[in-house]
Symmetry: C2
């Protein structure tokens, strides 16, 4: 692994990030927030400076493609680096006075977690709120994917990089070259962003609110510029539009490409999609009935609307709320709790364990029952109409176990700060799963501000670990990685 | 599968069970509990009657060995049947007026869970308390193993049966014939029962209390004839003896046979034993320090004693308590909560997921990290010095997933009765893991009496499912099982 190659690509990434940091400057100018310009220009300047220094230092030494190891290091650097530099506007503007808090808020944004340390949001400058939501949007489809889409010069390591960053156990190439795939994915994402923004404006939102809520929806992020999250709006139209788009964001984006290509057969035989929609509908109906029977909302229709919104929000790992679901009856809360173990589809912007892994492991478990009856039989596990390779089963099993291990480790660390079981365990679930709000002291009406600094740093790490699906970061902790 | 063969073996089992039901009759006679004789004699009579009827009906038709399928059905029948008939003394004596409650208490006994619906225990007849603890002892080493040990006539299906019942992913044969293995295991168990009883009597317990507490310890059961569980005794000697024997009961019993044979090498290279002891010591030290620093107990020694007792009790899935651990500081509670995910060693009387599975899955997860760096490498997973076969990895992965699925399903069912998340989730953990007391409304000072009947029946099923390690019972729910 050549560090110079890694640094050189990282420098390119910093430049791209700086470009996106110009957008909130434009917002600041539009809304007359003159004092907000330098908090953005300073990090832009720092990034450009680092870019120039690295490129000068690595000139003639960085012409090789990234190695596999270099890819892992680059992707990890990218995410922690994006948060480090992206936190500066919050910190420099003194909107968030402590750097720990600013870092937490920013990595929560990029990882599309949506866990916030802020209690008062509405009164913040527009440029800061825009940047806060933009981190979601950039992190949702993946900042590395974006880098690959824009700079094909990264070369042959591109596919490896996208695999290291993109959610889901497998990345299908939709185009022969990964650059093409990355571009197609980003164009679809961009298109959906446009459609949702327009639909929200039809519902009475102004452009700013529509764009920021769309960023939070399509990235399955969950940051809202309103204190009461989507609950700020009483319009059932807005609730339904956001519900639908959250569900759409939790679908494998490759399927949208297939749809555009008219390849309906692939979509129809997609096991993950069926399971994902089935889980959503089941959760919505159970919560809806429970809410209605408990008399929380007057009509069954309203109950179902609140149920659908929250089920979609938690399943897709968005984290928006239209109400304080922590005050719901126990059955509804438990269903949401169960959804926290699942997550979105592979290849979607959603986090968590992912429906594909859950379905595959379920089939593996059922398969073992068959072997008990016919020990000499041969039973394949089929997903999307093709049988799953044995290697993939190991990868998924190993991932699942490590995920639960990290979940329990996080629970322990959060508990050392004196948090109760519900708070500690749900904090672990919603940070590793990139969901955001949970139960107890981190419920939807509360925030992470009260946690001590060491917990905030640990959770910042856990959010990145969850977003990059463990392996990319964990591999850096092995001795083998640093050998030779 | 011939039902007549299954029924014939089941009849034999009922006869053996009836034999053991004579023991509490003896206790009743010794303590002058004349009114307690018929509640035991009636089920004995019923069992003998069923035995005679089945044997008459299946004469000449049940000479064949049990098939694989027949084995699963037989083992399942055995456990639910043992609880059905074993509940009668509680019910007929009106010690537990409802049959649902009696069934729950009995299957909790046989599965060595130790979850109780009783709030007042000390004042109950001695014969009933003896029977309650005896169900632990019989279920601990396994009632099917016992049947196999006593009746070699079950024939070639014996090994299959023991595999279906005995805890742990693998059963090593210590003797060429399974009957011999079953006998050796039961003799070791019997010997340890004798030693612990004597040691407890040295500490001031009378014979009755010593025997019943020994039953609860070695079976990792947790029923105590005292309202305050082991906390009734203030003697640190008694606490330490029980701690040591709980830990011993959580070790693979095959290792004791190796020890007796002088085969120390096998013991020294046993990965599971090392991990098991390591987890116990780590948990004890963390809880000990946390209790001491929180000032719950005066000295560090006392803190460590309480910590060691409770860590051993939860890790081995016993469920005894020397204090109300639900009132401990959060860090200690979380460590106990984490231990609930682990369980004893394979081949021990402990329940839960089992240390061996946890260690194997951990190694599988770490292995995948190696493949990331060297995709073409070959990395084996070694346990106890030998590499684990791929098939075993699938079995363990499938088991682990189904276990968590059943855990979440149980959480949901318990929540439908209006229980909060902590109560529902810990109920699931402690019934499926055969632990007993948990957190919230089923804490160590409380009991399951308040749960509605449908939850009690469901949990009765879940306790058996956990004790038989899912597959044996779940396989009966597949269509394939009942084909042809």
């Amino acid at each position: 692994m050549r560090i110079s190659v890694v640094l050189s690509v990282f420098a390119t990434f910093l430049l791209i990030l700086s470009f996106f940091m110009i957008l909130p400057v434009v917002v600041a100018l539009l809304y007359g927030e003159g004092e907000m310009i330098s908090p953005f220009l300073i990090p832009i300047g720092i990034n450009v400076g680092i870019f120039i220094i690295i490129k000068l230092l690595t000139v003639n030494r960085a012409n090789r493609a990234l190695s596999v190891k270099g890819g892992f290091l680059f992707v990890t650097l990218t995410w922690f680096g994006a948060a480090a530099t992206g936190a500066l506007p919050f910190f420099l503007s003194r909107v968030i006075p402590g750097y720990t808090d600013a870092y937490f808020e920013t990595i929560s944004g990029f990882t599309t977690t949506g866990a916030s340390i802020l209690s008062e949001i509405q009164s913040l400058p527009r440029s800061i709120l825009f940047w806060r939501s933009l981190t979601h949007w950039l992190g949702g489809m993946g900042i590395v994917v974006l880098t690959v889409a824009i700079f094909p010069l990264i070369g042959t390591g591109g596919f490896q990089l996208v695999k290291a960053e993109a959610p889901g156990p497998t990345v299908d190439k939709v185009a022969p070259r990964i650059t093409e795939t990355a571009k197609i994915l980003w164009f679809i994402y961009l298109g959906m962003t446009g459609v949702q923004t327009v639909l929200l404006m039809f519902g009475g939102m102004d452009l700013f609110d529509a764009v920021t809520h769309t960023f939070g929806t399509l990235a399955t992020g969950g940051f809202s510029p309103k204190n009461a999250s989507v609950g700020y709006y009483q319009s059932s139209y807005i609730h339904i539009v956001i519900t639908v788009f959250m569900i759409l964001a939790g679908v494998n984006f490759i399927l949208y490409h297939k749809l555009l290509m008219g390849n309906l057969r692939t979509i129809r035989r997609n096991s993950e999609l069926k399971a994902y929609l089935g889980i959503f509908i089941a959760a919505m109906v159970i919560i809806g009935i429970n809410l209605y029977r408990s008399g929380v909302y007057g009509s069954f229709g309203t109950s179902l609307r609140y149920a659908g919104f929250q089920a979609a929000s938690i399943l897709t790992t968005t984290g928006y709320a239209t109400t304080d679901f922590d005050a719901w009856p126990e059955v509804s809360k438990i269903v949401l709790f169960l959804l926290m173990f699942i997550g979105g589809s592979s290849g979607s912007t959603g986090g968590g364990i992912k429906v594909m892994r859950i379905v595959t492991l379920f089939k593996l478990g059922v398969n073992e029952l068959k072997y008990l009856i016919h020990p000499r039989g041969v039973f394949n596990i089929r997903m999307n109409g093709v049988s799953v390779k044995k290697d993939i089963l190991y990868v998924i099993s190993g991932f699942f176990f490590l995920y639960l291990l990290m979940l329990l480790l996080t629970t322990f660390v959060v508990a050392t700060a004196g948090n109760d079981i519900v708070t500690s365990f749900s904090t672990a679930l919603v940070t590793l799963g990139n969901i955001g709000p949970g139960f107890g002291r981190i419920g939807p009406t509360l925030n992470y501000g009260y946690m001590p600094d060491y917990v905030k740093w640990f959770l910042s790490f856990i959010m990145a670990l969850g977003r990059l699906e463990l392996y990319t970061i964990l591999v850096l902790f092995t001795r083998r990685f640093w050998k030779r």
